[in-house]
């Protein structure tokens, strides 16, 4: 093993490490490259320029303006608003379902549960994390949709609530794990001081531990949010895939990522529709990237405030 091979392997290791940076950059470059025509090509913009994406358009001259996503039709319509709305709606339902459950469960296993119970609950939640999203989508489509329809009497089997709960299931393990880590990381001394002053387990948890763990808990929620926004298969399979503009939760929806998944297969390479799908993808990438950076910065800032690090 001469000096040369030592240097060569060290170079190889350095190159490998840089691939992660290069990979991230390349993702941005190569999907951005296909998205660019939306912003730069006049020809593409005639069909799907930013104005058409965000402002209401009249489908025929003289008709009232509307927001409509109908890429496959004689006069393709490319408004992104139904898709944005759909994404936000389903994410909202998912977080509404997931955050209380995940935080409640984390609080229970971190503060109140005896060790024996912890050993059953934690693996069970990790089991949930191990269920691929296609299976959750399958379950929502085949079983949960009927069940929810029976309970709530929905007109449409596949709707926002169905997709939202399934999405929530996917997101629970992440929120739970990060929140649980945050709670258990709170130093024992805090709890002991509180109990020594006569507080109950609940009071200690609510007044001392939870606030101290707040940065991590918020990070957990943000991570859950980021995951929910980007999740594709579940929403694709269980939301009904209808691009409508409505806040109603009993109606189907279409999310941004599901749109890409549903339509990229049939799109003509180089068409406005094609570039638009990449445009949406780039938007998702930038959004989750910024969200990630923000979450880290925010957590660091809060940690300094709360724990004086």
């Amino acid at each position: 093993m001469g000096k040369f091979s030592e240097r060569a392997i060290e170079a190889l290791i350095k190159i490998s490490a840089s691939i992660s940076i290069v990979g991230l950059l390349m993702i941005f470059v190569f999907i951005g490259k296909e998205a660019l025509p939306i912003l730069t090509s006049a020809k593409i913009q005639q069909e799907a320029g930013p104005a058409r994406l965000f402002l209401p358009q009249s489908p025929e001259p003289g008709e009232p303006k509307e927001f409509s996503w109908q890429p496959v039709s004689e006069l393709p319509k490319y408004s992104l608003l139904p898709l944005f709305l759909g994404t936000l709606k389903v994410t909202f339902v998912a977080l509404l379902f997931a955050i209380p459950l995940a935080l409640g469960a984390a609080l229970f296993t971190a503060e109140f549960a005896p060790d024996r119970l912890k050993e059953i609950i934690k693996p069970a939640i990790e089991l949930l994390a191990g269920i691929p999203s296609v299976v959750l989508g399958f379950f929502a489509l085949m079983v949960m949709a009927d069940f929810l329809q029976k309970i709530f009497g929905f007109t449409y089997r596949l709707n926002t609530v169905n997709a939202g709960i399934a999405l929530g299931l996917a997101v629970i393990p992440i929120i739970y794990t990060v929140a649980d880590d945050a709670l258990t990381a709170v130093p024992r001394s805090y709890r002991e001081a509180s109990i020594a002053m006569g507080a109950t387990a609940w009071e200690t948890a609510a007044r001392i531990v939870f606030p101290a763990a707040l940065p991590g808990i918020l990070a957990a929620c943000v991570l859950g949010f980021g995951r929910a926004i980007g999740e594709t298969m579940i929403v694709l399979m269980s939301s009904g895939n209808a691009a409508i503009v409505s806040l109603a939760l009993n109606l189907p929806l279409r999310s941004l990522s599901a749109t890409i998944a549903a339509e990229l297969g049939e799109v003509v390479t180089g068409s406005a529709h094609y570039h638009l799908l990449f445009f949406i993808g780039t938007g998702l990438f930038i959004f989750t990237f910024v969200l990630n950076l923000f979450a880290h910065w925010f957590v660091k800032k809060l940690q300094k405030k709360v724990l004086g690090i």
């Binding site: 490490a17 990979g23 190569f30 990790e126 089991l127 298969m233 990449f278």
Partner: protein, 296 residues
């Protein structure tokens, strides 16, 4: 009194989650179990997916994951080695690499699929066709190699994190001893660090494999197909895959009732696969932790 209510409520949260998990698993097992048979595992689908088996999907999944693992493991291990053993302590590049890994972990799976299409297929694949195949369409189309490489990038953070965890667990004194006996850094890594990190690296591999076997969005446009009359043998072949099969069968089957048994059985197989992998990873991890506790 108020406290007790909230404690009960939080316990209820656990109960609800666990109950839902049991319902999902139970439902799949209940409907899928009866269709399982040796024939199911070993033969191809017939009659428009209403009978026969799912062997090609199982084979495709294995082949895909194998290629992915071959790509991601060396890359992930070397990246972790760089971060923990080779990089100067406070260098800027280290923080950038870490940031990149964190962000790669957060990129939506469908964006990976777009990347696979836009980079691997359109750019690399076309380039290969132009230089090596006189512009004939060989690699510039959906292929198992591109799907595997896309998944490799997706699972890279998993491997890096698991390997770094293993490296961190090795006390610095072991490294010092090696150095003080005249080891070069490479010798120290080869003879002291890597042998002790094997368990953590294995955990990372298993978790990556589990993830790779379950993700469907990245392979939608990079090579997965619903029905192929052949098994993937060359790197530029398309392939059938368990997750993709479930998706298409569940959403695009002309006769839902007829395909339901096979669909459920396929889900059962995929779940069993991912669970078996996850449990193995957890078991390996706890064995490592137990051994560490003993030596301390």
């Amino acid at each position: 009194m108020v406290g007790k209510i909230f404690v009960t409520l939080s316990g209820l949260c656990c109960l609800i989650i666990v109950a839902i998990v049991i319902v999902i698993l139970g439902n799949v097992a209940w409907h899928g179990w009866s269709t399982l048979s040796p024939r199911f595992f070993l033969t191809a689908p017939t009659h428009g997916m209403t009978s026969g088996g799912i062997f090609p999907a199982i084979f495709g999944t294995f082949f895909l994951v194998l290629l992915m693992t071959l790509a991601v493991m060396p890359l992930g291990i070397m990246t972790a080695l760089y971060l923990h053993e080779y990089a100067p302590k406070k260098s800027l590049i280290v923080s950038w690499v870490r940031l990149a890994i964190q962000n790669l972990a957060g990129v939506p799976a469908i964006v990976y699929g777009l990347f696979g299409l836009g980079f691997f297929i359109e750019f690399v694949g076309r380039g290969i066709d132009r230089f090596f195949f006189q512009d004939q369409l060989t690699f510039g189309q959906p292929a198992i190699i591109w799907a595997a490489l896309t998944l490799a990038l997706l699972t890279l953070p998993t491997v890096v994190v698991a390997t770094e965890e293993a490296l961190r667990a090795i006390p610095f004194s072991h490294r010092e001893v090696a150095y003080s006996l005249g080891a070069t850094r490479l010798q120290m890594v080869r003879r002291v660090v890597l042998p002790q990190a094997v368990g953590g690296i294995l955990t990372g591999a298993i978790l990556a494999i589990s993830r790779g076997a379950g993700e469907v969005a990245p392979i939608l446009f990079t090579g997965a197909a619903y029905y192929l009359p052949y098994l993937p043998k060359k790197l530029n072949d398309q392939f059938m895959e368990l997750g993709y099969h479930i998706y298409v069968m569940a959403t695009q089957s002309p006769d839902v009732d007829q395909t339901k048994p096979i669909l459920y059985a396929t889900v059962f197989v995929l779940l069993t696969l991912t669970f078996a992998l996850n449990f193995t990873a957890i078991w390996v991890r706890s064995k490592i932790r137990r051994r560490l506790r003993m030596t301390k």
